[in-house]
Subunit: 327 residues, 2 copies
Amino acid sequence: VDHDRIGPEGVRVISVSDEGEFGLIRRIVARLPVTPAVLLGPGDDAAVLAAPDGRVVATTDVMVEDRHFRRTWSTGYDVGRKAAAANLADVVAMGARPTAIVVGLATPGDLPAAWVDALADGLRDECALVGAAVVGGDVVGSDTLTVSVTALGDLEGRAPTTRSGARPGDHVVLAGWPGRAAAGLALLEAGHGDHPLTAAHRQPRPDYAAALAMVAQEEITAMIDVSDGLLADLGHIATASGVRIEITAAVLPVDPALVEVGELLGVDPIDWVIGGGDDHCFAATALHVSGNVTAIGRVVALDDDAAPEVVVTDREVPDNRGHEHFR
Amino acid sequence: VDHDRIGPEGVRVISVSDEGEFGLIRRIVARLPVTPAVLLGPGDDAAVLAAPDGRVVATTDVMVEDRHFRRTWSTGYDVGRKAAAANLADVVAMGARPTAIVVGLATPGDLPAAWVDALADGLRDECALVGAAVVGGDVVGSDTLTVSVTALGDLEGRAPTTRSGARPGDHVVLAGWPGRAAAGLALLEAGHGDHPLTAAHRQPRPDYAAALAMVAQEEITAMIDVSDGLLADLGHIATASGVRIEITAAVLPVDPALVEVGELLGVDPIDWVIGGGDDHCFAATALHVSGNVTAIGRVVALDDDAAPEVVVTDREVPDNRGHEHFR
C-alpha cells in the first residue's frame, strides 16, 4: 500500500487514480448545481449556455502547484475559490456579468479524491457569488497539479470596459484593498501561517458587487482587474489609453493589518499596496466618483513625446513592474 | 550558459524565460489574425466575441507532455493543431460552428520560444479550418508542459446535437477513419517514426465539414466526437439515450494503411478501429444516411431490464472500454 494514501488515522485515502477519470468526473458533477443560464450542463461533448446579449466575454487563467499555491498552505477549497476568482474578476473587469466557468484539472494520480471534491466546492461557491455555474471540464493525469479555468460572461447590453478608454481629467478609482494577498503570502513564507491575513492569499475576495455597480452607472471609461500589482496594472491602462496616470499614495486604502504585518516582517506596507497582485481589486477610470470605491488619482494628458506612465506624486517608490512570470 | 539553450549549430536558442511572460505574449499575439466574430481580441482582461445565436457552446481539453504528446515525436505546430482539433471537434459534435478558442500554456522556462511560436501557428491554422480565431490565453511557468484549450461555438439557430437523442430505428453513421491515430502512436512506440501514418497521431484531421453538413440537414438525432474510442463513445450515446446500438464490423471504414501497419506490428487493425481514440471522427445517429459518411449500424430498443450497450454483431471483440485517464 502506497504510504501517500494513508490518512492521519491510518485510514486508506481514496485517490484520484482509485476513482479513475469517469468516477472522478461523476464525483465532481454531483457537487455542482446549475443556473438558469445553463441550457446544457456537464456530461456531453460541450456545454450550452445562454448568451442573451449576443456577445460573450471569455478569459482563461492557469494555476500551477508550487507556483501559484502550495498544498501545505492552501486547501483544495481555497484553490477552487482562488482559481475561480481570478477568472471571474477578469470577466467583471470587462463590465460583464459572469455566467459560467469550465475547468481543466491536470493531476497526479495519488492526489486524494477528497481534495478534488473540495476544489469543486470552492469553484462552485466562488461562482455562486456572481450567479455563475461550473458547466464543464476535463480531468487528465500529470506530474504537476494544474488548474485551468475559463470564465464566460454576458455584457447585458453594455459596451465592454476595456483598458483603452481612459481620458485626461478622469478620476482613478479603486474597489478593494490591494496588498493583502501579498502580505498574506509574505506571512506564510515567514512561517506565520496562523495569522488571519494569510486568508487573503488563500482566498482573495474581489469586490464583484462594487465593480458591477460602477459599471451599471456607465461612468467608467476603463477598468482592469489588479492581478500583477496596482502600479503595473494601472500602467496597462496608461499604455492602452495613451495617458499619464497620477496616483496619490496618501489616499490609497491601506488595510490596518498591513501596517501591523509590515512591522512584524520589516516591510513598508505601501510596497505591498502598490506592488502586490492577486487581490483582484478593480481599478478604473471614471467620469465621477461614486459608490463603494476610493478615489486614488487622476488621468492627465501626455506631454509631447512623453511615454505613457504611472506616477506616484507624493512619495518615492521603487521601480515596480509588478508580477511577471519567468522573470 | 545552460546546455539546453544551445541549438544544433551552437547558436544560443531564445527560451521562454529569456522572453518573459509579456514578451512571449507579444510574440504569440503577433501571429494571430482575428475574424469578424472577434469583437475584442487579445490584450485586455478578457476577449469579447459575437454570439449571434444567443447561446454559446463551450468545452475544454487539457494536453500534458509525455501523456498526450512527446516533444521528440511532435513539433510545437503538431501540438497546436492537435490541441485545437480536440476542442473544435467537441464543439462541432454539438452541432455548433466554432468561433474562438482561448489557450492556457504552462511551460518550463527553458522551452524554446520558437516552440511556442509553432504552437501558436498550429492553433491558428487548425482554427482557420472552421473560421475560428485564437482570442486570448494565459502563460505561466510549470515543470510540466501543459496546453489547455477552451473552445466556443455558435449554434446558428439549431438545437444542440446531444448524446441523448438516439432512438430505435436510427442509423448509426460515422464521418472519418477511426484507428489511424492509435496505429500512428503504435508505430511511434515501436520506433517507426518515419511511417506516414504517424501523422495521424501528430495531427488528427477531424472531418468538420462532413459533420457540419450532417448537422445542417437536421436529420441527426445524436452526435459525439470519438476521442475515447468508437465503441466507448457509442457507449456514451447508448447510455445517455437509453438504447442498444448494433454495429457491423464488416462495414466499418478501415484505412488500408491500418492493414499494412497491423501486419508490421502484429495487431488486428479492427482493434484500432473500434478502440482507438484521438482521431476525432464524428459518430452520429440519424434518421437517414446521406453525405460523406459511412453507415455502420442501427439503434435498437432495449429489451426489458436490459442495460444500454454497444454490440458488434458480426465478430467477437475484446471487452474494450476505450481510453480512460488514471486507469
